[in-house]
C-alpha cells in the first residue's frame, strides 16, 4: 500500500514532465549549446587565452537567452496543449530564503572545485601537470555528474526514462574520455610548469595550449550533443505517447 501511495505522490511531482515538452526543450537547449561549441572549434576560434574569455562570455549570454526562451516556450506550450487536456498543476512553491540557500550551496559545490583547479593551475605551476588529463577527464566527470543528476532525479520523480538518460550521459562521458585517450593525452611542454600567468604567453606554449583547449571544447561539445539527443528522443517519445493517450478536448464552436 505504501508503494501505491508513493507512486501517487510521484505522479504529482512528475506532472511537469508528463507531456515531453520539458525534455524536448532541454534537448534543443543542449543540442544548440553543443553545436555552438563545435562550430566554434571548426571555425578555428578555440584559441587558448584569446578565445577563452570570449568563449566564456558568449556561452554565458547564449545560455541566459536560451534558458529564458525555453522557459517562455514551455509555459506557452503547456498553456495551449497540456492544461486543456490533462489539467493544470502548480508546483510546490519554495520560500525565497530556502531557494537562495539551495542556489548558494549549489554554486559553492559546483564552483569550489573549479575555482580550486583554476587557482592551482594559475598560481601553483606544478599542478599544471594535471592539464594533460583534462581533455579525457573532464567529459568523464561532467558525464558522471549529469548522469547522477538525471538518475537520482528520475528516482525522485518515479520516471524510469530519466534513469536510462542518466546511464546514457555517464556512458557518453566515458566514451568521449576513451576517445580522447585513444588519441593520446595532450603533450604539454615543460615550459608550461614554469610560465607565470603575469608574463606574456611564450611562443612555445601557444600551439600546445591552443590544441589542448580545442580538444577540451570538442570533447565537451560531443558530450553536450549526445545529452541533447538523449533528451530530444525521450521527449519526442513521451510527447507522441501523451498526445495519443490524451486527444484534444471537445470544444463547442461559438
Amino acid at each position: 500500500m505504501e508503494q501505491q501511495i508513493d507512486a501517487a505522490v510521484k505522479r504529482g511531482r512528475a506532472y511537469w514532465f508528463a507531456d515531453g515538452f520539458s525534455e524536448l526543450i532541454l534537448g534543443a537547449f543542449f543540442l544548440l549549446l553543443g553545436s555552438a561549441v563545435l562550430l566554434r572549434v571548426w571555425a578555428g576560434q578555440g584559441a587558448f587565452l584569446e578565445g577563452f574569455a570570449t568563449t566564456a562570455i558568449d556561452f554565458a549570454v547564449l545560455k541566459g537567452v536560451a534558458l529564458l526562451a525555453a522557459f517562455l516556450a514551455i509555459w506557452w506550450l503547456k498553456d495551449r496543449f497540456t492544461y486543456p487536456r490533462t489539467g493544470y498543476v502548480r508546483g510546490k512553491s519554495v520560500p525565497p530564503l530556502v531557494l537562495l540557500t539551495v542556489i548558494r550551496n549549489l554554486i559553492l559545490i559546483a564552483l569550489l572545485p573549479v575555482l580550486g583547479l583554476i587557482s592551482g593551475l594559475l598560481f601553483v605551476p606544478q599542478t599544471r601537470a594535471v592539464l594533460a588529463y583534462l581533455p579525457a577527464g573532464l567529459p568523464v566527470a561532467i558525464g558522471a555528474l549529469w548522469g547522477a543528476l538525471a538518475y537520482f532525479g528520475g528516482e525522485w520523480l518515479g520516471l524510469r526514462r530519466f534513469r536510462l538518460l542518466g546511464w546514457l550521459m555517464l556512458l557518453a562521458g566515458a566514451a568521449v574520455g576513451l576517445w580522447q585517450i585513444s588519441y593520446g593525452l595532450s603533450e604539454l611542454p615543460a615550459e608550461v610548469l614554469q610560465w607565470s600567468i603575469l608574463d606574456p604567453l611564450p611562443d612555445a606554449l601557444q600551439y600546445p595550449l591552443d590544441e589542448w583547449f580545442i580538444r577540451m571544447l570538442t570533447g565537451m561539445g560531443i558530450l553536450t550533443l549526445a545529452t541533447g539527443a538523449g533528451f530530444a528522443v525521450t521527449g519526442a517519445m513521451t510527447f507522441f505517447r501523451y498526445r495519443k493517450e490524451n486527444p484534444a478536448p471537445y470544444r463547442e464552436e461559438s
Binding site: 501517487a8 505522490v9 504529482g12 489539467g87 493544470y88 512553491s93 490524451n246
Partner: protein, 105 residues
C-alpha cells in the same frame, strides 16, 4: 489492545478511504491542482470526484478556489496545513502497522 491494533483503529477515516487517499497523495506533491487533473489521475467519475473532494473540504483538509480561464470555469484545490499533517500522520501510522520499505521523502 496491542499498540499495532490501536494504531489501526486510530487511522484517519477521512483519508483512509482509497479514492480520498489517492487525491490527498496527489495533492501532497503539488501546491494546487485543478479538477481536470484530479479527474484524469484518479479515473473517478465527475460526480464521485466531487463528493470525495467535498468530504475532504468539510474535514478542513482542502481549500477550493474557483475562477475562470477565459470563459471556462476553473477550480483549483490546495491541501491545507492540517491536510498535510493528517496525511503525514496517516503514512507514519501505516508504516508502524505494516513496516516495510522505508520512505525516501
Amino acid at each position: 489492545m496491542t499498540g499495532k491494533l490501536s494504531s489501526l483503529s486510530d487511522l484517519d477515516r477521512v483519508i483512509h478511504e482509497p479514492a480520498r487517499l489517492l487525491l490527498v497523495a496527489l495533492l501532497s506533491a503539488v501546491d494546487t491542482a485543478d479538477f481536470l487533473f484530479l479527474l484524469k489521475e484518479s479515473r473517478l467519475t465527475k460526480g464521485n470526484l466531487s463528493v470525495h473532494l467535498s468530504r475532504l473540504e468539510e474535514a478542513g483538509y482542502l481549500t477550493v478556489k474557483k475562477s475562470f480561464r477565459g470563459k471556462i470555469p476553473h477550480t483549483e484545490y490546495r491541501l491545507t496545513a492540517s491536510g498535510r499533517k493528517a496525511f503525514d500522520k496517516y503514512r507514519k501510522q501505516l508504516e508502524s502497522i505494516m513496516p516495510g520499505k522505508k520512505r525516501k521523502d
